[in-house]
C-alpha cells in the first residue's frame, strides 16, 4: 500500500489478493472492508526500483544496452512506483541466441526459473515492443517491417498515454491504434490540451519508428580498482604487502580524483590455478589516504589470503565508496596519518581495533531518552558512523535530571535497609554483608516503570524511589526502593481455579543498590 492524495491505496497485489477481487489503486480502507484479514505492508518504491535495476544488470547478458522504462511511460491502473519494465536494445544481437524466438524462449525460461513473472515482446521499436508486451495477445514478436500491422489492433492505451488522454479517445470512440492511424493527424492532435497532442503524435511515431527513441541504459556504478600482474607468482604475504604498498597510492589517487573515499576495500589475488582469493575490510568513514588503506588491510592480516601455489595478479578495489570530506593534506604525503586531524587518528584507531577484534565489536555509548537509568544509554557499533557529538550527548539527558553514578550495577544488588515508611530515605543498610550507617541522604527521585515495555516474569512493573546516601565514611551510594507503600505493595493474584475470586497477596517493596558515586 502507499499513501497518496486520496489516502492509503493498494499499490501491488499477490495472486491470492487478486483472486479475492482486490485491485491496484483501490483504497486500502475499501480493501479492508472486503477482506478484514488483509495483510498489507507499506510500499517501498526505492527497493522496487533497486530490484528492477539489478534485473537490468542481469539482462546485460543479452545486450549491452538495457534501459529501465522511464517513469512517465507507465499507464497502469496505479501509476504508483510505476517503473516496472525493461527495454533491451537487441539490434543485431538476436542471432547470438539462436534467433528471436529462441531468444525470448531463453529469456522466459530463465526468468521463470527465478520465479519472476514476465511478459516479453520483441519489435522494431521500443514503443511497439512495450505495447505488445502489455496488450498483445498471441504473437509477441512483431516481424521486422510489420510493426504497423502488429500494433494496429491494440488499444490506444498501448501508446503509453496519460489516463485522461485515453479517456478522451474512448469518448470519441477511438479504441485502437488502428482507429488513430486512420485519422488526420493535425486534427487529432488539436483535440488534446497542451502538450498532450504532441505527445500523442510522438508516441505514434515512436511506436512506428518514424521518430527515434533513445534508451538510457543502466550501468553499474563505476568501480575504483587497480591491478598489478607479475611475471613470477608471488607466494608469500611479504610479497603481497610489497605490492599492496604500490597499489594503495594509485587507488587512493583514483578515489581522490573523483572526490570519493572507500568504505569497503577488497584485495583480490588471482591464483595460478585459475581461482581467486580475497580479503575484504570495512572502514568506519570514507578514506582515500593511501597509508590508511594499506594499514587497514595489513591489520586485517595478509596471511589470511590463501595464496595456494602463488598468485599472478593482485587487484585492490574500493567496493563501496562515499563522497570524501576533503581535509587539507600534508605537502608531502608521507607524513604520519592523523598528525593533522585528531579525528583521523580516532578513525585510524577504530579501524585498527575493528580489524583486530572483528567488525561490530567496537561501540560507542549513545544517550537514549529514557527515565530508566539502565536504559538511558545504548551501544551503537562504531562502524555505523561518527561518534555522537557533545551537544547530542547533552540533548539526550533530561533537563535538570539529578546526577547519576558513572557506572551502574547490572543487575542491581539486593540490600536490606531500615527506612521510614512510606518513602523516607534509608537510615541503615546492609550491602554485600557490610552494614552502613547513613549520615546524609537526598531523595526520593521517583521513576515510574515504562508501562509499555513487555512484562518481566509476568509481574506488573513497579515504581522506583532513588536515594543518594552518604555513609559515615563519606562514601556515596545510589539505592532505590522498588514499590510504593500503600499503592504497589499488594497485587491481585489470578486464581489457579478459574472460578474462584482473585486473591490479594502482599508484595512488599524491596531495596536495591544500583550504583556507587566516585
Amino acid at each position: 500500500m502507499e499513501r497518496g492524495p486520496r489516502g492509503l491505496t493498494l499499490s501491488a497485489l499477490n495472486p491470492a489478493a487478486r483472486r479475492l477481487g482486490l485491485s491496484r489503486g483501490q483504497a486500502h480502507a475499501d480493501a479492508r472492508a472486503m477482506v478484514p484479514a488483509l495483510i498489507s505492508v507499506p510500499a517501498e518504491p526505492e527497493r522496487d526500483l533497486e530490484a528492477l535495476r539489478s534485473l537490468a544488470l542481469w539482462a546485460e547478458r543479452y545486450s549491452p544496452c538495457v534501459a529501465m522504462e522511464p517513469a512517465e511511460a507507465s499507464s497502469g491502473p496505479s501509476s504508483g512506483s510505476g517503473r516496472e519494465g525493461l527495454l533491451i536494445d537487441m539490434t543485431g544481437g538476436a542471432h547470438l541466441f539462436g534467433g528471436e524466438t529462441a531468444l525470448l524462449t531463453d529469456m522466459a525460461g530463465r526468468l521463470a526459473a527465478a520465479a519472476l513473472p514476465a511478459r516479453l515482446a520483441l519489435a522494431d521499436t521500443a514503443g511497439a515492443a512495450w505495447a505488445l508486451a502489455r496488450f498483445g495477445r498471441a504473437a509477441r514478436i512483431a516481424p521486422a517491417g510489420a510493426t504497423r500491422n502488429a500494433i494496429a489492433p491494440l488499444p490506444v492505451a498501448a501508446l503509453r498515454l496519460a489516463r485522461e488522454d485515453v479517456q478522451l479517445l474512448s469518448r470519441l470512440g477511438l479504441r485502437t491504434i488502428g482507429d488513430l492511424l486512420a485519422l488526420p493527424r493535425a486534427g487529432l492532435a488539436r483535440r488534446f490540451r497542451g502538450e498532450a497532442g504532441l505527445t500523442l503524435v510522438r508516441r505514434l511515431d515512436q511506436a512506428l519508428g518514424v521518430e527515434p527513441e533513445i534508451l538510457a541504459g543502466v550501468r553499474p556504478a563505476p568501480l575504483w580498482r587497480v591491478w598489478r600482474s607479475f611475471l613470477e607468482p608471488v607466494i608469500d604475504a611479504a610479497g603481497v604487502e610489497t605490492v599492496l604498498g604500490d597499489l594503495a597510492p594509485s587507488l587512493a589517487e583514483g578515489l581522490e580524483r573523483d572526490g570519493q573515499g572507500a568504505r569497503r576495500l577488497a584485495l583480490t589475488g588471482f591464483r595460478t590455478d585459475g581461482r581467486t582469493t580475497a580479503l575484504t575490510v570495512a572502514l568506519s568513514r570514507p578514506s582515500a589516504h593511501p597509508g590508511h588503506l594499506a594499514r587497514v588491510l595489513k591489520e586485517r592480516g595478509l596471511e589470511h589470503l590463501d595464496l595456494g601455489f602463488g598468485i599472478d595478479a593482485l587487484m585492490l578495489s574500493a567496493e563501496t565508496a562515499e563522497p570524501l570530506i576533503q581535509v587539507q593534506g600534508d605537502l608531502d604525503r608521507s607524513s604520519q596519518l592523523g598528525a593533522a586531524d585528531p579525528r583521523l587518528a580516532l578513525d585510524g584507531l577504530l579501524d585498527r581495533l575493528g580489524a583486530r577484534l572483528g567488525e561490530g565489536q567496537v561501540h560507542y555509548l549513545e544517550g537514549r531518552e529514557s527515565w530508566m537509568p539502565e536504559r538511558a544509554q545504548v551501544r551503537r557499533p562504531a562502524s555505523e558512523g561518527p561518534p555522537p557529538s557533545a551537544p547530542d550527548r547533552e540533548a539526550a539527558r533530561a533537563p535538570g535530571l539529578p546526577d547519576r553514578p558513572l557506572m551502574l550495577l547490572d543487575p542491581p544488588e539486593a540490600v536490606t535497609t531500615v527506612a521510614e515508611l512510606p518513602d523516607g530515605p534509608p537510615v541503615r543498610f546492609i550491602w554485600r554483608r557490610v552494614a552502613h550507617h547513613v549520615v546524609r541522604s537526598q531523595g526520593p527521585e521517583r521513576l515510574s516503570a515504562e508501562w509499555w515495555r513487555p512484562l518481566r516474569r509476568g509481574l506488573p512493573p513497579r515504581t522506583r524511589d532513588y536515594y543518594r546516601v552518604e555513609d559515615g565514611e563519606g562514601r556515596r551510594y545510589w539505592l532505590f526502593r522498588e514499590g510504593l507503600y500503600g499503592r504497589e505493595d499488594r497485587m491481585e493474584q489470578p486464581p489457579s481455579d478459574p472460578g474462584a475470586e482473585p486473591q490479594i497477596v502482599a508484595r512488599p517493596p524491596t531495596w536495591w543498590m544500583h550504583g556507587v558515586f566516585p
Partner: protein, 1117 residues
C-alpha cells in the same frame, strides 16, 4: 485532623491532549481525598467548567472556576475570579484570545488551546482575578524576575504556586521557592499541578502526550512524565511532602474564601427586542397567541384549545419564558416574510402556543399531545424549540439573527467532539507504534461510527488475536480514551441569545466557517445552567417541498402550503393507498428500505399511523422488541373491527396490590406497547417508581449515553423495581433495552408528529404531482436516500415523461414543460397506465451534468432568451462559453438540438480554440477553421451510450446498464427483479432457489439487526431486496463489499406484503458491467449505501464540514 487544603492547579481533559481525567473525575476524587475545595483551570478555556460544576454540586464540594492562561511566550498564570464581574472579565479575556486565531489551521487551534494571549491583555482584564504563578520545572532567574514584575503589576493578589517534581531534590526546591516568595513578599501556596485524578491514569496521559507531540511511546522519551505523581493528592500526603511549609498548604483557604463566584450566579436574560414599548413580554405573547389562534381556527377557537392556551400561557408566565417564545416567534415570522419554509420540531410540537405562533404545524390538541412534556412546573428544565428551515436558505436566517442581536449577544453553542472507538483506536495505535495496517484493521472492524465499545470479537474479526501484549495495551487504553473530549466543534444550529453581552457569560470564539461565532459550552452544559437556546436547523425536504409548491403554482395554477395540504382530508385516500403499497421513494423519512418494509405491515390509514411509522423503525423500539407486539396488536384490532367486535387492549400490569391499570393512560394510544421516548420515561416513573430526581438522572444518562455510557447504573434500578412490583421480567428488561436504544437516538412523540406532517405532505405531492415531486427532489440534491437515477426512474414508472438535458431546452434546474401529446408520449404513457398529457414532461436541468457550473448555465439562458442556438459555433459565440463548458455539454449528449451527436460534439468542442476568438475571425465558422468532423468516428453501441450517460449525468434515459446483460443473466438462471413479486416463495426449510442479478444500490448492516446485512439490487425491471445472514456475510464479504453488480442466489421469502431473497450464494458480476464499454461504469450506489461511506481511513475528515443537511437516519446503525 487533616490540614485544610484546596487543590488550585488542576487540569482536566478539556485541556485537550494534556489533562488525563474528566472534570467529574477530578471533582469526585477531590471529594474522596477530603480536599476543602478544588479549582479547575484548563488551558485558556472554560469548556469543562460546567461539567465540573455539575459534579461539585452533586458531591457537595466547593468548586473554584478559573483558567490556566498560557501566554504566547509560554509563560503560565492561573487565574480565579472573585465574583461575577471578574468572571465576566475572564470570559472577555478568553474571547479576545480566541478571536486572534481566526483562520489558523484547525489542528493547530485544537492543540494550542485555540487562544492567543499576552500578559498585558490579561492585566487589562485582571481586576478581581486572583492569580497563581505556578513554579516551572526549572526555577531560574528569569522566573524570579518575571514573578517580581507580575506581582507589582497584577491588580489583585498574586500567589506563587509551589509544586514538587519528585526528582529527589524537592526539599531544596521548596526552600528555594519559599525564599523567593519571601524576598518578593508574595504569598506562596502549595499545589500538586495535577494532570489527572489518579495515578492509574499515567499511561493514558503518556499516550495523550504522544498524540500531542505526534510521536510514539518508544520515541517520546523525556516528553513523558517520569512518574505518576501528577495526580490529585490528599491533605495528609501533601502535608508530608510539604513538611516545614505547611502554611503554604493552609493558605489555599485564603483563595477559596476570596473567590466566591459560582456558575449558579449567571443570571440569564433573554433579549428584549421583539417586545414593543409599553407592553410586557407576557402581554405581547398573549396577544400574539390569540391572534394566531384566530388564524389557525378560522371557524372559531374550540373550547378545549382555548382552555389549553390559557393553561400554557399561565405556565409560561410562571416560568418567565415569554421572552423565549417571542424570540423564536420573531425568527419564524421573519423567515415566513422571506418566503422561507420552516417548521418547528421536537417537543415544541406539544405546545398549542407554538402552534398558534406558527412555530409548529401540528395541532397538538387534535393529536392529544401534552404540553407538560414540553414544559412542566415541576421539571426544572428550560424549553427547547428546534425549528427546521429550508437547507438552502438557513444561512439567511442565521445572518438575520446575528444582524438583529449583534455578535456580542448571539452565538452558536458548541458540540464537544468526543473520541469514538474508531478515532480512539487510530490515535492510540499510532502512539503505541502499531503499524498503520493494524490500526486500520482494528478501526475498520467497527461498522458505522456509532459503536461504543471495542469488543474482543472486533479484534478477532480483524484477524488479530488479543495475544500481543502491545495490542492488548492499545485496546485497554482505547477503551479508556473513548468518551474523552477531542475538540470543540460548532453545534449544527443551536443559537444562544442574551440581553447582556454574551462574552461576559462564556468565552466566544470563531467557528471554522467564516461568519460564525460559537461559545465554549455544549448543549448539555447550557441545559445545566438553564440557558435557553433556539435550534436553527436545516432540512432538505423543506427545500424540496417549497420548490414543489412553487412548481405547482406555476404550472397547475394552484396555491398550496403545509397547512392547506393537511386540511384537505378528502384527498387522503390515494395518499395512504400509495404509502401502504410502500410506493414511497423520495418521501420524507419513509423511503429507506427498512421503512419501506414496515409500510405494508403497518398499513397507515391516518395521520397518527404516520407518527408511529416514523418512530417505530428506530433503535429504541427495535432493541426493546416492541415492534412485533405492536404490529400484531394492530392487525388483531383491525381484524376485530372488521368483524365488528370491540378490541380489548391488554396492558402490562404489576401484581396486586398495585393498580393493574397504571400504564393504561401512558400506553393507551399505542395499543399497550411503549414506542416513544416519553412513554419509556413515564414507565420508569410509574412502573418503577422513579422519583423526579431519578427520572432526571435517567433522562440525562439517556441523552449522553453515546459518550458517557452511565446509563447502565440505572439498569438494576429500573428492571429490579419493575420485577419487584410484579411486572413480567421480560417486559421490564425490554423496557430498559428500549431506553438504551433511545439513548442512541431519542424519538419523542411530538418530534415524530412534526416529521409525520412532512411525510404526509411529501407523500401527497408524490401522489398527485409526481413530476413536480421528482423535479423538486432533483433540484434539492443532494438529499435523501436515493440517487437521481432512482428518482428519475420512479417518476417514469409513475407515468412522467422525462426528457434529456439539452442546451436549447434545459434550465439550470430541472423544469416542467408544456404537456404535449405526441405519439411517442402516448405510447409511453399508455404503457405506464397513465392517460397522456396529465403530467407535465420533466426536462432534466443542466445541474445534472457532472462538473457543469451554474454561471455557465446562466449565460446560456441569457443568450437563449433572444433565440435558440442554431449551431455549436452560434452557441460558443453568443453564450461566450469556455471550451470546457462546451465539452461537458457534448459529453453529456446535450447538444442534440444542434444536430450533434455525443462524439461529433466532443470532436467539435475539443477542436475549438481555447481562448476567445480574435475579432477578425469571430465571424468565421468552425468548419472553415477545422473542416468537418471526420466520418471515421465510429458510432457508439447503445451500451456505450448508457455508460457515458452515467459517467456524465449519473443516470441514463436510454436504457438500464443491466438490460445489456439480460441474456447472460438469463443463462445464469437469473430472473428479472420485477418477477420476484410473483415468483413462488420458498416454504420454510426448502423450496426452489431463485437467482436475481443487478447493480448494487444499497448495502446496510444496521446495529439493531445483529449482523444481518441488507442489500438492494437494481436491474432494468426494478429492485430486489436481499437479506444476507451473518455467517454467509463473512463467507462472501469480498463480494458484498467489493461488487458493483452481483448475482444472488437464494430462497424467496414473503411476509406481510414484503418480498425478499434470503441469499445463499453471491457472485461478483462487476466484470460483466465493465465489459459494456472501455470506460468503467461509475459506481451506482445510492447515498444510502453504507459500504461506500462507512469505510474507514479515507484520510482525515474534511476540515469544513457542511452543516448536516438532514438528520442522519439512525435506523441502520
Amino acid at each position: 485532623m487533616s490540614l485544610p487544603y484546596a487543590e488550585l492547579d488542576a487540569l482536566t481533559n478539556f485541556s485537550f491532549l494534556e489533562g488525563g481525567s474528566h472534570p467529574r473525575e477530578m471533582v469526585a476524587q477531590a471529594k474522596y481525598l477530603g480536599l476543602e475545595a478544588i479549582g479547575i483551570a484548563d488551558r485558556n478555556s472554560l469548556a469543562g467548567v460546567v461539567r465540573a460544576h455539575r459534579e461539585a454540586k452533586l458531591q457537595g464540594l466547593r468548586l473554584l472556576i478559573g483558567a490556566r492562561l498560557v501566554f504566547e511566550d509560554q509563560t503560565v498564570l492561573i487565574v480565579y475570579p472573585r465574583d461575577l464581574a471578574a468572571y465576566g472579565r475572564l470570559c472577555r479575556l478568553l474571547s479576545l484570545g480566541k478571536s486572534e486565531v481566526l483562520g489558523t489551521d484547525h489542528a493547530e487551534r485544537t492543540t494550542k488551546g485555540q487562544c492567543r494571549l499576552t500578559f498585558d491583555q490579561a492585566l487589562a482584564h485582571g481586576e478581581g482575578l486572583v492569580a497563581i504563578a505556578p513554579a516551572p520545572a526549572v526555577i531560574d532567574g528569569a522566573f524570579g524576575s518575571r514573578l517580581a514584575a507580575w506581582a507589582r503589576a497584577w491588580p489583585d493578589r498574586l500567589y506563587l504556586g509551589a509544586n514538587l517534581r519528585s526528582d529527589g531534590r524537592d526539599r531544596a526546591r521548596l526552600n528555594h521557592l519559599a525564599r523567593l516568595a519571601d524576598g518578593l513578599s508574595i504569598p506562596m501556596i502549595g499545589t500538586t499541578a495535577a494532570l489527572y485524578h489518579h495515578p492509574d491514569r499515567r499511561p493514558l496521559q503518556d499516550v495523550l502526550t504522544c498524540i500531542r507531540e505526534g510521536t510514539t511511546i518508544d520515541q517520546a522519551g523525556f516528553r513523558l512524565q517520569a512518574n505518576a505523581e501528577r495526580c490529585l493528592k490528599g491533605p495528609d500526603e501533601l502535608a508530608r511532602l510539604f513538611r516545614g511549609h505547611e502554611a503554604a498548604l493552609v493558605r489555599t483557604r485564603e483563595i477559596v474564601q476570596a473567590c466566591r463566584f459560582s456558575l449558579d450566579e449567571l443570571a440569564y436574560q433573554y433579549p428584549n427586542e421583539p417586545v414593543p414599548a409599553g407592553v410586557t413580554a407576557q402581554q405581547h405573547l398573549t396577544d400574539l397567541t390569540w391572534q394566531g389562534a384566530a388564524w389557525r381556527y378560522p371557524q372559531g377557537v374550540p373550547d378545549r384549545v382555548a382552555a389549553t392556551i390559557g393553561k400554557e400561557l399561565a405556565l409560561i408566565a410562571h416560568r418567565r419564558y415569554a421572552h423565549y417564545f417571542l424570540t423564536v416567534h420573531d425568527v419564524v415570522r421573519w423567515a415566513r416574510e422571506q418566503g422561507i419554509l420552516c417548521q418547528g420540531r421536537g417537543s415544541a410540537a406539544n405546545s398549542v402556543v407554538c402552534f398558534c405562533l406558527g412555530v409548529t404545524s401540528v395541532d397538538p390538541v387534535g393529536q392529544d399531545l401534552l404540553f407538560e412534556r414540553f414544559i412542566s412546573a415541576e421539571r426544572d428544565e428550560p424549553p427547547d424549540i428546534d425549528v427546521d428551515f429550508e437547507h438552502e436558505r438557513r444561512e439567511e436566517v442565521i445572518q438575520y439573527i446575528y444582524g438583529r442581536y449583534g455578535r456580542d449577544r448571539a452565538a452558536i453553542c458548541a458540540t464537544v467532539i468526543h473520541y469514538r472507538p474508531r478515532s480512539a483506536i487510530r490515535e492510540v495505535g499510532k502512539a503505541l507504534g502499531l503499524t498503520e495496517d493494524v490500526t486500520a484493521a482494528l478501526a475498520g472492524t467497527v461498522w458505522g461510527s456509532w459503536g461504543h465499545e471495542v469488543e474482543d470479537r472486533h479484534v478477532e474479526g480483524a484477524g488479530l488475536a488479543g495475544q500481543d501484549p502491545r495490542l492488548a495495551l492499545a485496546l485497554d487504553l482505547t477503551r479508556e480514551l473513548i468518551g474523552f473530549p477531542r475538540h470543540l466543534s460548532q453545534h449544527v444550529g443551536g443559537f444562544i441569545l442574551t440581553e447582556g453581552p454574551l462574552v461576559e457569560m462564556v468565552p466566544v470564539g470563531n467557528g471554522a466557517m467564516a461568519d460564525r461565532t460559537f461559545i465554549e459550552w455544549d448543549k448539555d452544559d447550557i441545559d445545566d445552567l438553564k440557558i435557553m437556546k433556539v435550534d436553527v436547523l436545516a432540512l432538505g425536504m423543506l427545500t424540496a417541498i417549497r420548490r414543489g409548491f412553487d412548481l405547482i403554482a406555476r404550472h397547475h395554477g394552484q396555491a398550496w402550503d403545509l397547512a392547506a395540504v393537511f386540511l384537505r382530508r378528502d384527498l387522503e385516500g390515494p395518499v395512504y393507498d400509495m404509502l401502504c403499497r410502500a410506493d414511497s421513494l423520495g418521501v420524507f423519512q419513509v423511503e429507506s428500505r427498512a421503512q419501506m418494509a414496515m409500510l405494508p405491515r403497518l398499513q397507515p390509514r391516518a395521520f397518527y399511523d404516520l407518527v408511529v411509522q416514523v418512530a417505530i423503525v428506530r433503535p429504541g423500539p427495535i432493541q426493546g422488541d416492541m415492534v412485533h407486539p405492536f404490529l400484531s396488536r394492530r392487525t388483531a384490532r383491525r381484524e376485530a373491527q372488521a368483524r365488528g367486535e370491540s378490541f380489548e387492549i391488554l396492558y402490562p400490569s404489576p401484581a396486586p396490590p398495585h393498580d393493574p391499570d397504571e400504564l393504561k393512560s401512558i400506553l393507551g394510544k399505542t395499543l399497550g406497547v411503549p414506542l416513544f421516548q416519553e412513554q419509556a420515561m413515564r414507565i420508569a416513573m410509574e412502573a418503577a417508581e422513579f422519583t423526579g430526581d431519578e427520572a432526571n438522572g435517567l433522562r440525562r444518562a439517556m441523552a449522553t449515553f453515546r459518550h458517557t455510557g452511565t446509563i447502565h447504573s440505572y439498569e438494576d434500578m429500573l428492571v429490579g423495581r419493575m420485577k419487584a412490583r410484579g411486572y413480567d421480567p421480560e417486559f421490564a428488561e425490554n423496557c430498559f433495552r428500549q431506553i438504551k436504544g433511545f439513548g442512541e437516538y431519542g424519538f419523542p412523540e411530538s418530534h415524530a408528529a412534526s416529521f409525520a406532517l412532512l411525510v404526509y405532505v411529501s407523500a401527497w405531492m408524490k401522489c398527485f404531482f409526481p413530476e413536480v415531486f421528482a423535479a423538486a427532489l432533483l433540484n434539492s440534491q443532494p438529499m435523501g436516500f436515493y440517487a437521481p437515477a432512482q428518482i428519475v426512474r420512479d417518476a417514469r414508472e409513475h407515468g412522467v415523461q422525462v426528457r434529456a438535458p439539452d442546451v436549447n431546452a434545459s434550465d439550470w434546474d430541472c423544469s416542467l414543460e408544456a404537456p404535449v401529446v405526441a405519439a411517442a408520449d402516448l405510447a409511453e404513457g399508455l404503457a405506464a397506465g397513465v392517460p397522456p398529457g396529465v403530467f407535465h414532461p420533466l426536462r432534466l436541468g443542466l445541474r445534472q451534468i457532472d462538473g457543469f457550473h451554474r454561471a455557465w448555465a446562466d449565460t446560456i439562458l441569457a443568450a437563449r432568451a433572444a433565440a435558440p442556438f442554431a449551431s455549436l459555433d452560434d452557441l460558443r459565440q453568443r453564450a461566450g462559453l469556455p471550451a470546457a463548458a462546451l465539452e461537458r455539454l457534448a459529453a453529456a449528449d446535450a447538444l442534440g438540438s444542434l444536430d450533434l451527436s455525443r462524439r461529433g460534439g466532443l470532436w467539435a468542442a475539443r477542436g475549438l480554440p481555447r481562448t476567445a476568438p480574435l475579432p477578425l475571425f469571430a465571424g468565421m465558422g468552425l468548419e472553415e477553421a477545422d473542416g468537418p468532423p471526420p466520418a471515421a468516428l465510429p458510432a457508439p453501441a447503445l451500451s456505450e451510450e448508457v455508460v457515458h450517460d452515467y459517467e456524465t449525468l449519473r443516470l441514463s434515459l436510454k436504457a438500464h446498464p443491466v438490460s445489456f446483460l439480460r441474456q447472460d443473466l438469463a443463462r445464469a438462471g437469473a430472473i428479472p427483479a420485477a418477477q420476484l413479486a410473483t415468483a413462488p416463495a420458498a416454504p420454510p426449510g426448502g423450496g426452489r432457489r431463485i437467482a436475481v442479478g443487478g447493480v448494487v444500490l444499497v448495502r446496510q448492516r444496521p446495529g439493531t439487526a445483529k449482523g444481518v446485512c441488507f442489500i438492494t439490487l437494481e436491474d432494468e425491471t426494478g429492485v430486489a431486496n436481499i437479506v444476507v445472514w451473518p455467517k454467509l456475510f463473512e463467507a462472501f464479504r469480498p463480494v458484498i463489499m467489493g461488487s458493483r453488480m452481483m448475482l444472488v442466489r437464494g430462497r424467496l421469502q414473503r411476509a406481510e406484503g414484503v418480498t425478499h431473497l434470503v441469499a445463499e450464494h453471491l457472485e461478483d458480476w462487476t466484470g460483466s458491467l465493465a465489459g459494456l464499454s472501455d470506460q468503467p461504469l461509475p459506481a451506482l450506489a445510492a447515498p444510502g449505501d453504507e459500504a461506500t461511506r462507512s469505510a474507514p481511513g479515507r484520510g482525515d475528515p474534511p476540515r469544513h464540514r457542511h452543516p448536516r443537511v438532514m438528520p442522519r437516519s439512525r435506523d441502520f446503525h
